[in-house]
């Protein structure tokens, strides 16, 4: 027993000396400079419109896509069905029955494009074309007059849309 102790004490000193002199691990990350420029690594669309793809769509086009792809869960009017409400209820946030729809609550229209493209329709995310997502965004926003019904949305004008609740949020972080 005592012999083991005598052996292990010097061994520990050697080990700690090595650790102090050398890095604890290798840097094993691979250069992703090229890879990270690919579209699949640039999905998030910022409020300034960064990463919005080329494409265009109108409310009239969006209305047809909505009926096919969205109404099943969101309801024909975009509210009152099993999925989150999308349209209507603008101005309801201070009422006794506030309804947080896209049009009443969401602060940025870019988020609508971002979320539809990555997550909708729920049984086939990433299945819609950029044109279809612009068209759906135009349809939803036009239903509450946030954009005119004849506006063709694209990567230039979508970030310029001002949502009714744009200034409705108080950042708690940083405290």
């Amino acid at each position: 027993m005592s012999m083991v102790s005598k052996l292990s004490i010097p061994a520990l000193f050697v080990l700690s000396a090595l650790v102090a002199a050398e890095p604890t691990h290798q840097n094993l990350g691979l250069d992703a400079g090229v890879l990270s420029q690919e579209p699949q690594w640039n999905l998030t669309i910022s409020p300034d419109g960064k990463n919005l793809p080329e494409g265009k769509g109108t409310a009239a086009q969006g209305k047809e896509i909505f009926a096919l792809q969205c109404a099943g869960c969101h309801g024909p009017e975009g509210i009152g069905a099993s999925a989150d409400p999308l349209m209507g209820e603008v101005g309801s946030l201070t009422s006794d029955f506030p309804e947080k729809t896209v049009n009443s609550y969401w602060p940025y229209a870019t988020t609508l494009f971002d979320y539809i493209r990555r997550a909708m329709p729920i049984d086939a995310p990433f299945s819609l074309t950029a044109d279809e997502v612009y068209a759906l965004s135009a349809y939803i926003l036009s239903q509450d007059g946030i954009i005119a019904s004849d506006v063709e949305l694209n990567r230039k004008n979508l970030p310029q849309v001002t949502m009714p609740n744009r200034d409705g949020f108080i950042a708690i972080y940083p405290e």
Partner: protein
Amino acid sequence: MVDEPKNNRRQFLQKAALGGALVGAISIPVLSKAGETEFPDNLPEWMRMPGGDFTNYGQPSPHEQQVIRWISANPDAPGNGVSWTPLHDLQGTITPNGLHYERHHNGVPQIEPNEHLLVIDGLVDKALSFTVDTLMRYPMVSRLCFIECGGNSNSGWRSNPIQSQAGYAHGLVSNAEWTGIPLKLLLEEAGVQVTAKWAIAEGADASALNISIPIEKLLDDAILALYQNGERIRPENGYPMRLVLPGWEGILNVKWLRQLHLTASPAMSRDETAQYTELLPDGKARQFTFVNEAKSLITSPSLGMMLPDNPGIYQISGLAWSGRGKIVRVEISADGGESWTDAELQEPVLDKAFTRFSIPWKWQGEYAILQSRASDETGYVQPTRDALIENRGKHGFFHYNAIISWEITEEGDINHVYGF
């Protein structure tokens, strides 16, 4: 022979109740049979025949099949919902992996680990990608912590108290030992630029969940977790890797993590604007409310149980946790908050982790309202429901952490009430 064991067992229980002397007397006729002893008749069948086979992966006793996560999902989109940890059926502080709460936005992805990459890019000196295999070679740390969904206990905002068992109303919180790489190591390898204030984390699920996280937290105590309670993280909890941000709401602990994209400002994604924000009475909403404040829950006795003995001594037991640090005190009231007594805290009390509290209680058939009130090391005290609603209104939906009250009727039944 096949039918005998049940009878034998019943006899065993009866004899045991009658006492040793009588057992000997009744056993005499058995002894008269040549070649037999008294024991086969007195011992349960599982002591008289070889037991079951070894198992490659153990499962709970079939007698515990009611201890399950309660699933609540959208029938139109069954992958969008939650499952609740049955806190009322568990003891100690560790949530078994099969019972850790779930929140999925579009199902559990079945990720092929050899095809999964983590990319760290954006405002870094050098964009990097990591395979699972290379990450396994990094130094790892382990820590116990709770993860709580921002929407846990949200039925508390309703006008009437929900009559669900403790875990099925408050169990979108679980506690595990997470093991993985301090995220700081990977961020430093990529080289965080001074302009980087946020990282947009993205999951590899069928909602490509994206959410913005302050870089400050990622450089502090965040872990890129690969293991949960000693084994590789299960698919429903983020396999092959997830973020663990101790003390911060569940949505930020992104599962199936595929990317951290460093930016100067937040993405304003759906889950940091439309969801996980708290609407106040004036129509403004609290945003970036990351920390889960101190909270506690009596898990026993609780709804669905009853008090069988009057008078009787009962062990009040429950869990307390705080996203700001250690729990320092849990007080218990049996009179709806009129008077409070300190419960005992089970050691070790850990930072941002479940703390088990307990206190014996003698019940003598009186009407009672049991409550627990947690305090953390910052001095924060868990609020009453009235105080929470006074501050936040009734439409915040997220971050409900008010004192939870169990009504004990004179018959020993237990109901969820909102207290006084």
